[in-house]
């Protein structure tokens, strides 16, 4: 019988800790597939964040560093400057990248660091129990916005790809999603492109991935996918935000 589907080589034989319907597991698998297909297993150095993505080093069978909350872009900068021939990838969530780590993300992008950030945007702080994130959309109910996010009190959702697009150091910024098969295929293509940009040393690359969080959104997995399609992607338009010649 022909084998059509198996565990990517870069994924350890471990059980994901992610909740049912969580987008992280899809993103992890896609990254592992891309590492295998681009033959990057002995070249990549991953930086794990604080948050739901923290335990990627238990899953990826590649060199991994765990960063302090929000500092991914800074530690990735340190690694990349010492080892310019390695592929340095920082995996971050919305609170990590766009709240506590805004300065590090912004300035790494502005310096045009040849690093790639994989930014999983699920609109909440997942690991700590579903508090408001910088990307929580208006009126969205979270544990710290019990009547929904009100802009007058809690500000507006941050569109990080668009924020970073104005910086001359950014080379590739694309927003994708993992809520339906076609989107997943596009996400994988975006990851490949981001890695190519880094290998060609064209500057800072980031793939923002809209990702369902049924547990903290208080939805079932199907409702969560539908919410990405109907609500979240209206606030965060899916598609290429910026690409310079690679």
């Amino acid at each position: 019988m022909k084998k059509v589907y198996s565990r990517p080589k870069s994924l350890k034989p471990a059980h994901f800790h992610y909740c049912p319907g969580c987008g992280h597991s899809i993103v992890n698998r896609l990254i592992a597939e891309v590492i295998d297909e681009m033959n990057l297993g002995d070249k990549i150095i991953c930086v794990a964040p604080a948050g739901c993505g923290m335990l990627i080093y238990n899953y990826f069978d590649v060199d991994c560093l765990e960063s302090a909350h929000g500092r991914g872009a800074a530690v990735a900068t340190g690694i990349k400057r010492v080892r310019p021939d390695n592929l340095v990838v920082s995996y971050q969530g919305d609170g990590d990248l766009a709240a506590i780590g805004t300065a590090e993300s912004f300035h790494a992008a502005n310096r045009g660091e040849n690093i790639t950030i994989i930014f999983v945007n699920n609109g909440v702080y997942g690991m700590t129990g579903g508090q408001m994130a910088p990307t929580t959309i208006l009126d969205q109910v979270t544990t710290t916005t019990p009547v929904g996010r009100i802009s007058e009190k809690a500000g507006h959702p941050v569109r990080m790809c668009e924020v970073l697009a104005v910086l001359d150091g950014t080379s590739y910024l694309e927003r994708v999603a993992v809520h339906k098969p076609a989107a997943i295929v596009a996400t994988k293509k975006a990851l490949v492109k981001a890695f190519q940009h880094q290998m060609n040393k064209t500057g800072f690359s980031m793939v923002e991935i809209l990702s369902p969080c049924p547990t903290n959104w208080k939805m079932d997995p199907l409702q969560a996918c539908k919410w990405v399609e109907d609500v979240m992607s209206k606030q965060f338009p899916i598609g290429l935000v910026k690409e310079v010649q690679c």
């Binding site: 060199d63 560093l65 765990e66 302090a68 530690v75 340190g78 400057r81 010492v82 590090e104 300035h107």
Partner: protein, 356 residues
């Protein structure tokens, strides 16, 4: 050959000669000359210089460079060092080498840009969150800065732990003749913990998140055993005219320099005063202080703070001996004459007590 250099610049030159290839820093007075020196010197030597967006970013870049295998450092002063504490805690937890230089200024808060020794407790107690220590080296001259920088990198790598070099605004700004000829480039050592891409070996992970409390406890004990080894092996201090002394001054860094001047005057007056100068503030030279207390009962702690080093002296003496204290916080630099007056008063009082 001796060169006339500021302490800040000398720290940079010594670091580069000792194989430091990465410097990350953010401007803050009174240590800017070091950042500026490194901006020119490190790239010339083929290394990495980044003026970071913040102190937090700088220490995390140090962490990244260290995990990638490089000798990396950052520098700052008081307020900036507070911001770096997060990263220093992670460096200690991850067991990664790094050198952090603090040219201390008056504090707390914004304080001022004058020399002070008010960060003693922050430096010697770890400074950030969690159960850890940093090795703390305290130079008292520009030459000693140049001597201790290579040691800082060696110790950081030997014990895989952050090392703090604790100076002050005076040491950073002051120019003195300094020699670097003795500094040798380190032999490249194989590091089996760094991340290079898993080529021809199993993948590695460097992390400090340990959910299992027993595993976390074991990690803490492992660090504690390492800190015990450091306490056993790495204590450094200087004694000055202690043998016949009736009173021993305990001071470090710039304060020790001032005290030496005062002691010269006191000796001229026939007052038998000596000094123990801790060079490592952690590990603290407890043993020599205990030994000394067998024959000498009066200790005079002098520091440019409201009283921090004095705590370690009292802990070392375990209730034995008398501890006198003179502190000048807030960025005040006392003169040797001032200190001479204060110490001589104590000496005469001790003599009076002895006679009666």
């Amino acid at each position: 050959m001796k060169k006339l250099m500021s302490g800040n610049a000398a720290a940079g030159e010594a670091a580069v000669l000792a194989g430091c290839t990465c410097y990350f820093g953010y401007p803050i007075t009174p240590q800017n000359e070091l950042t500026e020196y490194m901006a020119k010197r490190v790239p010339e030597a083929g290394g990495v210089f980044i003026q970071s967006e913040s102190e937090i970013a700088a220490i995390n870049m140090v962490l990244g460079a260290s995990v990638a295998g490089a000798r990396a450092m950052t520098s700052s002063s008081g307020p900036g060092i507070s911001l770096k504490q997060e990263g220093i805690s992670y460096l200690a937890a991850d067991e990664l080498p790094a050198v952090i230089l603090n040219m201390v200024r008056g504090g707390p808060g914004m304080g001022n840009i004058s020399p002070a020794q008010s960060d003693y407790l922050q430096a010697t107690r770890g400074g950030g969150h969690g159960d850890y220590r940093t090795i703390v080296l305290a130079p008292s001259s520009v030459q000693e800065i140049a001597d201790l920088m290579p040691l800082a990198f060696d110790l950081a790598e030997k014990y895989r732990n952050p090392v703090v070099v604790l100076g002050d605004g005076m040491l950073g700004q002051m120019m003195e003749p300094v020699e670097f000829d003795h500094i040798k480039k380190p032999e490249p050592v194989a590091k089996d913990y760094i991340l290079t891409g898993a080529k021809g070996r199993p993948s590695r992970m460097v992390r400090s998140l340990i959910f299992d409390v027993k595993e976390q406890e074991e990690h803490n004990w492992k660090l504690a055993r390492k800190f015990q080894r450091i306490e056993q092996n790495e204590v450094r201090y200087e004694t000055h005219l202690v043998d016949d002394a009736e009173l021993v001054v305990i001071a470090y860094g710039t304060a020790a320099r001032i005290a030496k001047g005062a002691i010269a005057r006191l000796r001229q007056e026939g007052l038998k005063v000596g000094m123990i100068r801790p060079i490592t503030l952690w590990p603290f030279p407890t043993k020599i202080i205990q030994e000394t207390s067998k024959t000498i009962h009066d200790f005079f702690v002098f520091e440019m703070s409201a009283g921090q080093l004095v705590e370690d002296v009292k802990l070392s003496l375990e209730g034995k001996g008398r501890v006198h204290f003179y502190g000048r916080p807030g960025g005040v630099i006392p003169t040797p004459v001032e200190l001479f007056r204060i110490i001589s008063r104590h000496c005469y009082q001790i003599q009076r007590v002895k006679k009666s």
